[in-house]
Symmetry: none
Subunit: 245 residues, 2 copies
DNA sequence: ATCTCTAGTATGTTCGTACATACCTACATA
DNA sequence: TATGTAGGTATGTACGAACATACTAGAGAT
């Protein structure tokens, strides 16, 4: 890797350093949490003063791209979007863990069902064809209070079956085992009265719940999964981060 | 006015200077656009180095509280910066139109209110400071049935006031008139019982509604708008499209 | 084995200094 | 009158230096 700072460039040194550090921060090792080179090291390495390094670092820290710790060092800011929309590593369990809540599967069922009209349309298959359905009830580790009930349907092309381990993060599993990369999704969110879902979530039928359906596709717009979720609104807030930069 | 910097305080000098300048910026003459004392003047006056003054000033500039101009001086951020751009980003009205539903404002109110704790924290301003609040009730053109009630609060730095036209797409207006480009947003979505909002939306208090809060920022992560929406869940489904390709 | 102190390390704060660059004004020239 | 240029001013960039403070790890004591 070339660490080049042009001292005769019209661009200020601290800007050059800033850009360079931006690239650094994208590297896997730093993305994974390794400490960046120390300020004095960078200073010597790039041939600029420590102040200049700090000037650049301040900017990056301000943008939230890096965190500093006195006496320790600086590193890339931990990526902690509550809900990145679609991360290959998206996982409800991990997400809740970042919010400080440990969750586990209170129940889990996998079975083959016939595709209904809506599902057949999305998957572009014949109505009635067999698809794998995954149902999960997730709740708190402490007290086993239900939070959300998921239902997922997978396109037959993928090849998932009852043998698969659905206790690990789903999208990571799909990518590793079946080479399927989820890239796009379209979501609809609505508020409902719990009704029949009340019993499962252990709330009153007249309580409001958050209902979400998600259509998941790969880079080629091919359907992968249809997923619905019924969230207890007293225990969960749906968060979305959007960046159009 | 007392300009006191304690050199033996546990608080870093640049923090003390920063707080002092915050107070300065509130004074009418600076609020009205007068140039702040020059860096060297402040440096001599307060008995700290120019670097320390700049450290504080950087912070304030970053928060959008003051603008600097090389060769001229620094002053409080103008209420109405000028800039031009185009291409807006989101409009409820246009979005509904795409769904085939014509909507209009059933009511609209603009007034100045004091920032509460939460708002002050997001905007990074003092609690109680005046901010512009925009309230809108949107509904169908046919039948005038309410669909959603919006409440928006704008960062004072932007400079919007009661004179502005809030009947046109908001983000387009902000960009054209004030040069503010909304780039990032973070949303929280939840389901609620309508309660007090029922009357406004013409539903029963026990009906579920969709509640959304949105934090809107520019490319530099500076806060622009805080926006909440209460959606009738029988008339509206929240849709999100995500593409990580 | 566990606790405590200490030396080492990395960032935080602050100073002083020097020169670069953008801006404004006023004077001089065509 | 119009224009261009020179000097003054204020912020921008960059360096070097010193000490403060928070944290880590290892040596030494109990």
């Amino acid at each position: 890797m070339k660490l080049e700072i042009k001292h005769d460039s019209p661009l200020p040194l601290h800007v050059q350093v800033e850009e360079l550090m931006r690239k650094l921060l994208e590297q896997p090792r730093y993305r994974d949490g390794a400490l960046l080179p120390k300020e004095v090291e960078l200073s010597n390495l790039l041939g600029v003063s420590r102040n200049t390094i700090r000037q650049a670092t301040n900017k990056l820290e301000n943008e939230g791209l890096l965190v500093r710790k006195k006496g320790v060092g600086s590193k890339a800011a931990p990526k902690k979007p509550l809900y990145t929309g679609l991360d290959h590593w998206y996982s409800f369990t991990n997400e809740m863990r970042e919010r400080g809540i440990e969750v586990l599967n209170l129940s889990l069922e996998v079975r083959w069902v016939q595709a209904d009209k809506k599902l057949a349309a999305f998957f572009n298959i014949e109505e009635g064809r067999k698809v794998l359905k995954l149902s999960k009830l997730k709740g708190t580790k402490e007290g086993l209070q239900p939070i959300v009930y998921f239902e997922s349907y997978f396109h037959p092309r993928i090849g998932v079956d009852e043998q698969d381990d659905f206790n690990i993060p789903l999208y990571a599993m799909l990518e590793k085992k079946y080479g399927v990369r989820v890239v796009k999704s379209s979501e609809n969110i609505s508020a409902l009265m719990a009704g029949k879902m009340a019993k499962r979530l252990q709330i009153k039928p007249e309580d409001p719940i958050l209902y979400r359906e998600r259509f998941v596709m790969d880079a080629g717009d091919r359907p992968i999964e249809y997923n619905t979720g019924y969230y207890r609104s007293d225990r969960f807030i749906y968060s979305i981060n959007i960046n159009k930069a």
